[in-house]
């Protein structure tokens, strides 16, 4: 029962008691008044009866005298006047008797009085007085005595009645007093009990609540106030408990976030320390050998070039290792900062897999391993980022080859459908050295090859798996590993893939930027031209190094695609000239070559390097990656109507941005996943709920690096104009 109800109930009880008491008092008063009234009348009747009795007696005496006088013969003993007085007295008595009889009947109960019945005697008296007729003497005496005894009886009855009424009165008074006292006591006790109970209960409840709050105050959020029923205190306690539980959850989230931040921080420091270590190791060889060579050259006159060669090769080897390391680290940082764009495209997966198979063949041979491939593909083309997929598969396979000697490496690729989504499942299994539980737990961490000795023994940057996993996550997929020490390891890649139709339309004609392709092979030139135009780039071509350099200086393209092997001015020379040019110096250059001199290319200043023959999709993907964001800035403008769109159009620098404008949030969601974005502008939109969700989504880790500008009101749109101006201008 609730507290208020108990209180109300108790008050009602006291009220009812008091009401009862009042009623009893009223009844008592009434009864008393009635009894007193009755008593008064009974007493009056008594006195009247007394009076009547007196008068009767005196009349009787007079009649007796008259009778005695008549007996004695004195004829005129009674005068007419005296007779008249006597007769008048008898009439009065008759009236009195009538009145008395009425009173007796009214004030005494039936059977407890006797009617006076004086009428007969009075009539006889009249007869006697008027005519000296009727009974005389003795008869009248008898009649009078009978009447007298009736009067006495009635006197007694009246007396008894008055006693009874008196007793009744006392009884009523005593009863009403008792009832009043009882009600008073009962009310007192009820009030006391109620007060005591309420105080005790309230104190206990408050103490319980206080204990809870003080426990929480001390940080013990696991404390929960015991169940206190369903009354107000119980509800308060429940609210407190709910609050504590919310607090507990909030604290948990905060702690978890801070723990994660700490862990991330620690991981970052660890990564830095490791990177420093990994970079210093080859650096030590490079500096050490070069210093030693310089000393040898200075000190030994007879030194032949042949003597220097082995050490130079070591320097080169260490340098190359360093470069791989730096590239891997750059890849990781690019992914982590969100600058690694995903390029979704339709690819013939079978060709990609065959290519991967051929690429890893030499690695397999090196350790005497056999590669077994099992491809189970339904769709001819799937939609994925083929460059990343290739890189992941190559990483996993080269790892398998590296840690397996004279064993087997299995690559199985299949398509799977789960919950309405198509997945590409690739499993790389080897029969190599395997990993322990502990090693397995850290295998995807940066710089943690199973242990340091394996790094030394097996080489590699120790970043391959880290990068692979990050790529897989970038594509919305996962890589998992399982292993048994000495038996081999299995890596499973699961990537969501599209059907490879329709979706690509969105990408076509979307890209923008000026590209200069320099190649002496006209067929290749045409191929590149077509591949890039199809993406929406403005493509210029040059068929020789000299011509290309000339065009580059004239048009200042956003990117140069450069063939290495050309007659006359070859690719390297063109690259050298571009890098040395004050204006063109920073233009990204993508080198195409028959030879795999990827590292050398990058060393000489190329921004990217592809080995011919180059697939259109691959070329487009790499170009998209290399183009500076300024030239192909993708701006997503979300607004209903076109107010902002018109404003943005007129801002200087806007022409360098590819602006996607939509008010349809479903379309926006699609666009977000389809393209890399450099700027998101959020204009007025009526569906605020959806917009809030979208904004929350855009504030998540993945989107954090993409700047987002918001303008919902007129004023905000005005200030946005300034901000946007700064953005676009900066890119200019």
């Amino acid at each position: 029962m609730s507290f208020t109800r108990r209180l109300t109930f108790s008050f009602v009880a006291i009220l009812v008691l008091s009401l009862g008491s009042v009623l009893i008092q009223v009844w008592g008063n009434d009864t008393r008044r009635r009894n007193v009234w009755l008593l008064q009348h009974v007493i009056r009747t008594q006195s009247e009866l007394n009076d009547f009795s007196q008068r009767m007696y005196s009349a009787h005496r007079k009649i007796l005298v008259v009778d005695a006088l008549a007996e004695s013969g004195a004829q005129n003993a009674v005068t007419e006047v005296e007779r008249g007085e006597l007769l008048a007295g008898i009439d009065v008595l008759a009236a009195l008797e009538k009145e008395l009889n009425r009173d007796l009947q009214e004030y005494l109960e039936a059977g407890r009085y006797e009617p006076l019945g004086a009428a007969e005697l009075l009539d006889h008296w009249r007869e006697f007085l008027q005519a000296n007729a009727g009974p005389h003497g003795e008869d009248l005496q008898r009649e009078y005595e009978a009447l007298s005894s009736r009067i006495s009886a009635n006197e007694w009855y009246l007396l008894t009645r008055s006693d009874e009424i008196n007793a009744g009165l006392r009884e009523v008074v005593s009863m009403t007093n008792k009832v009043a006292l009882a009600v008073f006591l009962l009310a007192l006790i009820t009030t006391f009990v109620l007060g005591y109970y309420m105080t005790r209960y309230t104190r206990r409840a408050i103490r319980q609540l206080q204990k809870g709050t003080s426990e929480w105050g001390q940080g013990n959020f696991d404390y929960s106030i015991a169940d206190m029923g369903h009354d107000e205190f119980g509800q308060l306690a429940n609210s407190f408990n709910d609050m504590a539980s919310s607090l507990r959850q909030a604290m948990g989230r905060v702690r978890e976030a801070s723990r994660r931040a700490d862990a991330a921080n620690q991981a970052k420091s660890g990564f830095l320390a490791n990177m420093s270590h990994e970079l210093r190791t080859p650096m030590n060889a490079i500096i050490g050998y070069s210093e030693m060579l310089l000393e040898e050259i200075a000190e030994e006159e007879q030194l032949s070039v042949n003597d220097l060669q082995p050490d130079l090769e070591k320097i080169q080897l260490a340098g190359k290792h360093l470069l791989t390391l730096i590239n891997d680290v750059l890849d990781i940082s690019k992914i982590e900062s969100g600058r690694m764009a995903v390029f979704w495209e339709d690819v013939a997966l079978d060709a990609v897999l065959r290519d991967v198979e051929i690429t890893v063949a030499p690695l397999m041979e090196k350790n005497g391993n056999t590669l077994h491939c099992d491809f189970d593909l339904h769709d001819e083309r799937i939609r994925t980022d083929v460059t990343r997929l290739r890189q992941i598969l190559l990483n996993l396979l080269s790892n398998a080859a590296k840690f397996t000697r004279a064993g087997d490496v299995y690559l199985s690729v299949a398509e799977q459908r789960e919950d309405g989504q198509d997945y590409l499942m690739a499993v790389v299994r080897d029969t190599g050295i395997g990993m322990s539980e502990e090693q397995l737990g850290r295998v995807f961490d940066a710089f943690v090859q199973a242990d340091l000795s394996t790094t030394k023994q097996y080489g590699g940057s120790g970043l391959g798996l880290t990068i692979s996993r990050k790529f897989a996550e970038l594509l919305g997929g996962t890589i998992t590993a399982s292993s048994e020490l000495g038996k081999g390891s299995t890596f499973k890649l699961k990537l969501p893939v599209g059907d490879g139709d329709g979706a690509k339309v969105a990408l076509e004609k979307n890209a923008s930027g000026d590209i200069l392709v320099i190649d002496d092979d006209l067929a290749a030139l045409d191929l590149s031209h077509r591949a890039l135009s199809r993406e929406g780039y403005r493509v210029r071509t040059a068929s020789s190094g000299a011509e290309g350099l000339e065009m580059a200086r004239q048009h200042r393209p956003d990117l140069v695609v450069l063939d290495v092997m050309m007659p006359g001015l070859d690719g390297w020379q063109v690259l050298h000239s571009i890098r040395g040019d004050a204006v063109l110096g920073s233009v990204p250059v993508l080198m195409l070559s028959m030879l795999n001199e990827h590292d050398l290319g990058l060393l000489l200043g190329a921004s990217g390097y592809l080995v011919k023959p180059v697939e259109s999709a691959e070329l487009a993907a790499v170009v998209r990656d290399l183009l500076p964001a300024t030239a192909v800035g993708n701006m997503l403008l979300i607004e209903e109507g076109d107010t902002l769109a018109k404003v943005i159009e007129q801002l200087p620098g806007a022409e360098h941005w590819k602006i996607y404008h939509s008010g349809d949030l479903t379309r926006v969601a699609e666009l977000l996943t389809e393209l890399p974005w450099q700027l998101i502008v959020m204009g007025p939109h009526s569906d605020s709920g959806q917009v809030t969700r979208l904004v929350a989504h855009l504030r998540t880790e993945h989107w954090r690096t993409v700047p987002m500008l918001m303008a919902q009101t007129e004023a905000e749109m005005l200030s946005l104009r300034g901000q946007l101006g700064a953005y676009l201008d900066r890119d200019e």
């Binding site: 830095l272 320390a273 420093s276 270590h277 990994e278 210093r280 190791t281 650096m283 030590n284 060889a285 490079i286 500096i287 050490g288 050998y289 210093e291 030693m292 000393e295 070591k314 080897l317 260490a318 242990d451 340091l452 000795s453 030394k456």
Partner: protein, 123 residues
């Protein structure tokens, strides 16, 4: 000339540093892991030990601790030579018992200075 034991698992670095030290006139002995380093100290008693920290079998910190705990080996000075060059790595190496610490890439004149200093102290 004094004998220096170089404990280093990276082949290139081992080759490079040993040759440079030899050119400076030191006799150089090589070990490629921690355990081998300790074993060679016991058998050859070099005048000084150059100790890489990230070693297979038994790492450099472990080697330094064992050397300094052993009565017969604790007099051999140890220079930690490592690519672990973060702020607290020096402290870690010294705490493990190394007498001095130097980072890779090696600055040879500085390293030679430290070697000569330690050899001078012990002689």
């Amino acid at each position: 000339m004094p004998t220096i034991l170089l404990v280093e698992d990276n082949e290139m670095n081992r080759d490079m540093l040993s040759r440079r030290l030899k050119r400076k006139g030191y006799e150089v002995l090589l070990a490629i892991d921690g355990q081998q380093g300790i074993d060679m100290c016991l058998s050859v008693r070099p005048d000084l030990m150059l100790l890489d920290m990230s070693l297979p079998v038994k790492d450099g910190w472990q080697v330094a601790r064992e050397m300094k705990a052993s009565e017969s080996l604790q007099t051999i000075p140890i220079i930690a030579l490592t690519a672990h060059a973060m702020a607290d790595d020096r402290q870690r190496a010294l705490l493990a018992g190394c007498d001095d610490y130097d980072t890779k890439p090696v600055d040879l004149p500085r390293l030679l200075g430290k070697i000569e200093h330690l050899l001078g102290v012990t002689e």
